[in-house]
């Protein structure tokens, strides 16, 4: 088997953008390994529009957005293997993969970019009691069946969880002829984008019940109905139960970065994001292993995935080209406070930054906040401040810091990202 300098695990939006950027940064030997039978990842089943407003300044469907990157990969002649599952990643960056044509094989690249994406939280992990009949699907599984294969998973639908895929599927199922009775959300706020609530629920008269959850599933063979109840915190309130007759329950209750391979390579993971802990160069604790996209932390917009992955591609290229960073460089930890749940990256090495470089911090907040400002402190100094009338857990926030300012505080051991009253 031919060896490659850079192996990218995953041919979805993150993997594609990383490959393109790495090639443009001068890396010739790149291989993308994709487990599905086509490039593009989950975008292929996202046939609705709204993708690419930031990147291409136009509204594209998921497959169109993916197509733009696939075209670049093809034009740049970057090789990829489809139907190829990476079975193991070792800390020495040995990649063990498998497919029909090549069988089981190993690669020994200089750098690896993790771009495996995420998976949906299944029913079992939610500990919903009741029967286990047919008709319970995660929203993404239903999306694949409907959008890629043309099959209706059900006629009368209840959706638990107001994540974006659930909201999108509420509209899709309605358009395909199903009756979507209600979307229930455990939290007092939606986990999805505001625009999706308006365009997918409000426009179709589908009620959204906040602070509600499923407390029972009826039907031994196929779902016959579900019982919703209002919750106080996470506890169902007795007496608030309401039965909905339906044949389908769709779940959109959160996404989990798929880091089984990262674990096998001893990549340190964050308990907050379930993704790798990375520096500003998107490098994990294992030198030469980088991460980007939903495997790193769950994004709200694919544009940000592409942007982040392109950065990972450039950093991986620099790593391969021997821009090897001194290991002893001093780090600034990024401390999150005041409702900032996490940040990517978790550490910044000011010494590694060019003077004119910009460092992007992405994070999510823990609750819905109004009239706040995002502030980044280095000691007493304010590095960044931006007013935000509304912050919600469903939307990712971005802060851009100037390398110059960070370098001036390189003697500190941390900077702090926080929310303050505006």
């Amino acid at each position: 088997m031919k060896e490659y300098e850079l192996v990218i695990i995953g041919g979805g939006p993150a993997g594609l953008a990383a490959a393109v950027a790495a090639r443009k940064a001068g890396i010739q030997d790149i291989l993308i390994l994709e487990r599905d039978n086509e490039l593009g990842g989950i975008l292929n089943q996202c046939i609705h529009n709204g993708f690419g407003l930031h990147t291409f300044k136009e509204e594209l469907t998921g497959p169109e957005y993916a197509g733009r990157f696939i075209q670049q990969v093809e034009e740049l002649g970057i090789p990829y293997k489809l139907g190829t599952m990476v079975m193991d990643l070792a800390a020495d960056k040995t990649v063990t993969a498998m497919n029909r044509e090549d069988g089981l094989f190993q690669l020994h690249p200089k750098a690896v970019i993790l771009a495996m994406g995420c998976r949906e939280r299944p029913r079992g992990a939610l500990s919903i009691p009741g029967y286990r009949p047919a008709g319970i699907y995660t929203a993404g599984t239903a999306q694949r069946l409907v959008n890629m294969e043309g099959f209706m998973p059900g006629r009368k639908v209840v959706i638990l969880g107001s994540g974006d895929i659930g909201l999108i599927m509420a509209r899709r199922m309605t358009l395909e002829g199903a009756e979507v009775k209600v979307v229930a959300e455990l939290m007092p706020y939606s986990g999805g984008l505001k625009r999706n609530i308006v365009q997918c629920l409000d426009d179709y008269g589908i009620p959204l019940k906040l602070s509600h959850t499923v407390v029972d599933i009826k039907g031994k063979k196929r779902v016959e109905g579900i019982t919703l109840a209002q919750v106080d915190g996470f506890k169902p309130i007795p007496g608030t139960e309401e039965f909905y007759e339906c044949d389908t329950l769709l779940l959109s209750c959160g996404l989990i970065p798929e880091n089984e391979l990262s674990r096998s390579a001893d990549v340190a993971l964050s308990p907050l994001t379930n993704g790798p802990l990375v520096g500003e160069d998107l490098q994990t604790n294992i030198p030469g292993i980088f991460a980007a996209g939903n495997v790193l932390h769950v994004h709200d917009l694919v544009d940000f995935v592409s942007e982040e992955a392109a950065a990972a591609g450039r950093h991986a290229a620099a790593y391969i080209q021997g821009g090897c960073m001194s290991e002893e460089a001093k780090e600034l930890k990024v401390v999150c406070e005041g409702g900032v749940r996490y940040s990517v990256p978790v550490r910044i090495c000011p010494d590694h930054l060019a003077d004119d470089a910009l460092v992007t911090l992405r994070f999510r907040v823990a609750n819905v906040y109004k009239n706040k400002k995002i502030v980044v402190y280095a000691g007493e100094d304010v590095l960044f401040s931006k007013k935000r009338p509304v912050l919600a857990p469903g939307e990712m926030e971005t802060v851009i810091l100037k390398a110059k300012a960070l370098k001036e505080h390189a003697d500190l051991d941390h900077i702090t990202v926080t929310l303050e009253e505006a």
Binding site: G124, S127, T141, F151, G154, G177
Partner: protein, 478 residues
């Protein structure tokens, strides 16, 4: 007329069929569900009890110890997953010690080998996650864990290999005595056999009461469980029970043969008629959550991948009911825990009874071995390369979480009796049994099932008729 009809294709029915297939006999197993292993057998603790628990002198005690002794050898003959991981019954209060000693003595009387009472220091060394309150424990080195699906498929396939036939989706509605045998009335028409074996699990009272005036009542006793992700494997090594006592009756925490952790069960008696009530309840799951921490600390319940409930076929006398009830009708009833552990011995005992009734002769062509579905993960790199070269389907991963290949799934479908549904594939291969619970692989397994079985996607079910996964095509009602 068949020689024997076995009613029920759970672990007992399949064990009986497999033992009988040693003989020259025409055997038919009828099953109400679409596959073997669909009732009590599919949802239990997956434990091979050492045999110290059942009351000395009971049939349960005898068959448990015997079954547990047969299991290691059987797992080699029939190639299913079994591990002798040992079990510990943990005592949480010094005042419960008489109960622990009593359990030990009962076990010794039952003939369980290697039993020992161990004190806290040794216990902590064996199980670092044992509760801080643990004082001592009964250690049974012969306690084991088994894959209940794997065991049952192995028995069924080996029975089929030796000529036994299986008939699914067949519900027995009545039994009529005729000259030299029975008419078994079913929803699929009448069948005839010289001998009928009642291995109908929670329905064994219904079948029994069709022929006997000595009424039997089976209470479906529900057990709720949590199954945890494989990343929790190793939280405990032994199967950890809690000694009933001052702190009530606990639940077990055990590893599974596949490296998951299982926690449960509750014991909730259902109305006799509720033989399909395998739904978990909030109260039941809360009880498991609460009790599992009695004997084991920091049970990683955040790693739950699914919850489920099973029904034990409980009978008030709490013993197995095995024997010829009336002319040519043999009960293999009230098989509650430790039924799984006892299954190999139950199979032998019932087959012995039937052999005597019919005067069956040995079948010299009997082949008591069976090979399971190849597990590519267990192969060396080179062996795996060779396997994919011979059959590229072993190079395509369908279930990502458990890395199950198309080759394994096709094998599961083509076996006899083979998988017909998503659950059938899942129980045979573990595709869909991982942390995403089939989110990614279900549509692909459905495609493979449709292709291999030559049926329409609309006819693919989760677990048999009535559980269809697809209801139509897009916009078909607009």
């Amino acid at each position: 007329m068949h020689d024997i009809i076995v009613i029920g294709a759970g672990v007992s029915g399949c064990a009986v069929a497999r033992e009988l297939s040693r003989k020259k006999a025409d055997i038919l197993v009828v099953e109400r569900e679409e596959d073997v292993c669909c009732g009590t057998t599919k949802a239990n603790s997956a434990i091979v009890h050492a045999g110290y628990d059942a009351a000395n002198g009971s049939l349960m005690a005898k068959l448990n110890v015997e079954g547990s002794r047969i299991m290691p050898e059987l797992s080699k003959e029939l190639d299913f997953h079994y591990i002798q991981n040992g079990s510990l019954v943990v005592m949480l209060s010094e005042e419960d010690r008489p109960n622990l000693v009593k359990l030990y003595e009962n076990g010794v009387k039952n003939g369980v080998e290697g039993l020992r009472i161990i004190e806290r220091e040794e216990l902590v060394a064996m199980e670092p996650n044992i509760s801080d309150a643990a004082v001592a424990a009964l250690y049974a080195p012969t306690g084991g864990i088994v894959c209940p699906f794997g065991l049952t498929f192995a028995l069924a396939e080996n029975a089929a290999k030796n000529g036994a036939k299986f008939k699914f989706d067949t519900v027995v509605t009545g039994l009529t005595k005729i000259d030299g045998g029975w008419v078994v009335h079913t929803n699929q028409g009448d069948l005839e056999a010289k001998v009928v074996v009642n291995a109908a699990g929670v329905y064994s009272d219904v079948i029994h009461n069709m022929v006997s005036d000595d009424r039997m009542t089976i209470t479906p006793r529900r057990g709720d469980y949590f199954l945890l992700d494989r990343t929790t494997g190793g939280h405990v090594k032994n199967t950890i029970f809690q000694l009933p006592g001052k702190f009530g009756k606990g639940v077990l925490v055990a590893p599974t043969v596949h490296g998951n952790t299982i926690v449960g069960p509750t014991a909730i008696d259902m109305d006799q008629s509720r033989k399909e009530a395998t739904n978990t309840t909030k109260d039941g799951l809360d009880e498991v959550r609460e009790k599992c921490s009695l004997a084991v600390k920091n049970v990683p319940l955040r790693q739950v991948i699914t919850n489920f409930a099973g029904l034990r076929a409980h009978e008030a006398r709490h013993d197995f009911f095995i024997g010829e009830v009336c002319d040519g009708f043999v009960d293999c009833a009230a098989i509650e825990s430790p039924g799984l552990s006892s299954a190999p011995a139950i199979g032998r005992m019932v087959a012995g009874i039937v052999t005597d009734i019919l005067g069956l002769e040995d079948d010299p062509t009997f082949d008591g071995t069976r090979k399971g579905i190849v597990d590519p993960k267990a192969l060396s790199f080179e062996e795996r390369v060779k396997l994919i070269k011979e059959n590229p389907a072993y190079g395509t991963v369908i279930c990502r979480c458990e890395t199950i290949t198309e080759g394994e799934i096709i094998d599961a479908i083509r076996r006899v009796p083979g998988a017909k549904s998503l659950d059938g594939v899942k129980r045979r291969t573990r595709a869909g049994m991982g942390r995403c619970q089939g989110g990614f692989c279900s549509p692909r397994v459905m495609e493979i099932l449709a292709r291999e079985r030559g049926v329409d996607m609309n006819d693919i079910t989760k677990a048999g008729h009535g559980s269809e996964l697809i209801v139509g095509i897009n916009k078909d009602r607009i």
